[in-house]
């Protein structure tokens, strides 16, 4: 999709993980080398596109604090220089590139789950729904209680599996209630959780990241 819009996309093969799983679970020391690695890998990029709101939230909320705690001023300067160039996928399109219509076609009924970190930490607002409303053939239906967490929460899903499942059951019931064929979000982790429950319950509702929908052109372009 990005190439379709005329951009050059690079994927540094050396990249791995932003460190969120370690950091949020309390393994702060273990996350530091991953942060250093990320900064090193992307320091020269014009814009970094991250198709995961929670990873961007990790970067914006914690990278500076971690660099400060390391007492490494050069590292801190690099973090400060890089962060303004890091964009969550919908932010990149709407805020950085000023786009709403990316030329996508997707003739299906879709509901949108505003993942917690995109909603409450990145404050992406209506950027994703602007993009969805511009997709040809796509019918967007409102998800009831959409701002409620899906119950994933990283290691929460395995440390508190029963509560996680209770939350997921409520979320999936809302998804099914919309009658949508597809549920989308800005985080594959939440979608993995939502899918896990839907599929176990025998539902045919599909889970797709927003990028997967916007990449579809229905044969055109």
């Amino acid at each position: 999709m990005l190439e379709r819009l005329g951009h050059t996309v690079e994927f540094p093969m050396e990249q791995t993980c932003c460190g969120q799983m370690h950091y949020n679970t309390g393994y702060h020391r273990e996350a530091v080398p991953l942060v250093r690695r990320f900064v090193e890998m992307f320091r020269d990029a014009e814009a970094v596109c991250v198709p995961s709101a929670s990873c961007v939230a990790m970067m914006r909320e914690h990278y500076e604090m971690m660099a400060e705690a390391e007492g490494d001023l050069a590292f801190l300067a690099e973090v400060r220089s890089l962060l303004p160039r890091v964009f969550e996928f919908s932010e990149l399109l709407v805020n950085r590139l000023g786009l709403e219509d990316v030329g996508a076609a997707f003739p299906h009924t879709v509901t949108y789950h505003p993942s917690c970190h995109s909603l409450r930490m990145l404050h992406v607002g209506d950027a994703p729904t602007k993009l969805l409303r511009s997709v040809r053939g796509l019918k967007l239906v409102e998800l009831p209680q959409k701002e409620q967490c899906c119950g994933f929460g990283g290691t929460f899903a395995v440390k508190n599996p029963d509560v996680s499942l209770a939350m997921l059951t409520e979320k999936d019931a809302c998804v099914v209630q919309t009658g949508a064929e597809v549920v989308t979000a800005l985080d594959n982790s939440c979608l993995m959780q939502i899918y896990g429950g839907l599929h176990r319950a025998g539902s045919s509702v599909r889970t797709l990241h927003l990028a997967e929908i916007l990449a579809e052109t229905g044969g055109a372009a």
């Binding site: 190439e3 791995t16 309390g26 020391r29 929460f156 029963d162 939350m167 899918y195």
Partner: protein
């Protein structure tokens, strides 16, 4: 010194307690209903405020400033309270607070048996388990807040900071009243329940000479104490008795009377979705011939000062106990308050209880959150609860890693392995390949449904798509070499 926070030390781990709570359908219906009602009322009363964000910011700054100069403001409060005829006592922990209260009660009532005290809702009293201490000393505490009374009569524990009996519906409350007030005919109609409580309480208000209250705010500038409430029982408790004992956590002090302006707007809206509390009682020392003629304030530390040293931990003490984070929390809404094993439940309880009572007793609480941020969003004093949770998780892991069993725990080993894999992209790719081979053992009809170890907690109730045959990396490499762009 012994720091007590309710019954925290005896509580089971959160996931275990939560599992039991999740099986109680009635409880879950009660909690969901009550939190939904308060949440929508709150939203209505917050939306109508054009300066809500500024009020939050102001509240946060007033509290942060006060906590940074707590020594100054506490002394100022003591001086002004005593100038107005009050007496201030300092309690380092629960035992001291309880002993001071018992001494005061016995000084006025004699040490005879059957002494009664009336109480208006105070979380601090529950925190130091004052009712148990009073009962052990032969003093009968009478809770006069309707919900606290329900909890007390039902031999229960509070499950919410603001609405302690939120887990009970009116049918359950009717049964408690029928039993404990000897009113077998009582119906579950709210009017009947209220009338029953009213006549039960009125008698006790009029005959009891000593009152115990908490404080929402203690004002340094004037030495005044403030309680906000909805039922009028608080007004009775702070005006009718001859002797009034007020328990104040040291973080409850605010510098000036004018500072109340901010909190009296944010607290009722956040707590109960009201523009203003029906009763706002502010009293200063002793006024001859009017109200209690002896006024004692017990300033309680009970673990609070050790939070002052750290910027992030100190934020916890900004809390004004509005309970908005409980109502907003998707975890609390599933489990109710008892699963947290502490009188402070929900998100604020998950950070407050372990910090006050040391992590030993409540290590599972900082993990009882998805870090969804709903708590932070509604907090009227902007406590970044998710950030504090992550900080506490860091402390737990650091402590664990100092022990051999911690080092060898499956979680630590998995996290160390993952860290090593993520530090090198070749290892990362190799791990992907390995997982792709390994997963075939657990694949059924194109799904992973029965993974071993920690991943089993996932697949017990959720399916998982297998790693695809071609990874994104492989696809990217392939299209790059083909020049397919």
């Amino acid at each position: 010194m012994s720091i007590v926070v309710g019954k925290t030390s005896k509580a089971p781990d959160f996931p275990i307690a939560a599992k039991a709570a999740l099986k109680n359908d009635q409880l879950r219906r009660n909690v969901a209903h009550a939190t939904n009602v308060i949440r929508s009322k709150r939203a209505l009363r917050v939306e109508e405020m054009p300066d809500w964000e500024q009020l939050r910011q102001a509240g946060s700054e007033i509290k942060a400033h006060t906590l940074a100069h707590l020594d100054h403001y506490l002394i100022e409060f003591e001086r002004n309270c005593e100038l107005a005829g009050g007496k201030v006592h300092w309690a380092r922990d629960a035992d001291e607070a309880n002993r001071i209260a018992i001494d005061i009660i016995q000084q006025y009532s004699g040490a005879g048996p059957g002494t009664e005290v009336i109480k208006v809702k105070t979380m601090t009293s529950d925190e130091v388990q004052m009712n148990h201490a009073l009962e052990a000393a032969g003093i009968m505490p009478i809770e006069t807040d309707l919900a606290d009374m329900i909890v007390q009569l039902g031999n229960d524990e509070p499950s919410h900071i603001v609405v302690p009996a939120l887990h009970k519906n009116r049918f359950e409350i009717r049964d408690i009243f029928r039993d404990k007030m000897s009113k077998p005919e009582l119906t579950e109609q709210p009017e009947d329940l209220t009338a029953a409580a009213r006549s039960y309480l009125r008698e006790r208000f009029l005959r009891t000479k000593i009152g115990i209250s908490g404080a929402n705010f203690a004002i340094a500038e004037t030495g005044s104490v403030c309680v906000v409430e909805s039922e009028g029982n608080g007004r009775m408790c702070v005006t009718l008795p001859e002797v009034l004992i007020t328990l104040v956590g040291i973080e409850k002090v605010i510098p000036t009377f004018a500072d109340l302006e901010v909190f009296l707007q944010t607290l009722p809206r956040s707590a109960t979705g009201e523009r203003m509390n029906p009763y706002n009682s502010i009293w200063t020392g002793v006024t001859p011939g009017d109200g209690p003629q002896a006024f004692h304030v017990i300033l309680i530390d009970n673990g609070r000062t050790k939070l002052l040293a750290d910027d992030l931990e100190r934020e916890t003490l900004q809390c004004i106990r509005c309970g908005a984070c409980l109502n907003a929390c998707p975890v609390y809404r599933e489990t109710g308050g008892h699963a947290y094993g502490s009188i402070y439940s929900g998100p604020i309880g998950a950070i407050l209880s372990p910090q006050l009572a040391s992590l030993e007793h409540s290590r599972s609480l900082p993990y009882a959150s998805t870090l969804c941020g709903a708590c932070y969003e509604v907090c009227p004093v902007k406590i970044n609860i998710p950030e504090v949770l992550i900080h506490l998780r860091g402390e737990i892991v650091r402590e664990d890693q100092k022990t051999l069993s911690g080092k060898l725990s499956p979680e630590n080993l998995a996290m160390q392995a993952a860290a090593a894999i993520f530090q090198n992209h070749r290892r990362y790719e190799a791990a992907q390949r390995l997982a792709r081979i390994g997963q075939t053992l657990f694949e059924r009809n194109g799904q992973l449904t029965n993974l071993p170890g920690m991943a089993g907690a996932w697949t017990r109730s959720r399916d998982l798509r297998p790693i695809p045959k071609q990874s994104f990396r492989d696809w990217w490499k392939q299209r790059s070499t083909k020049g397919d762009a």
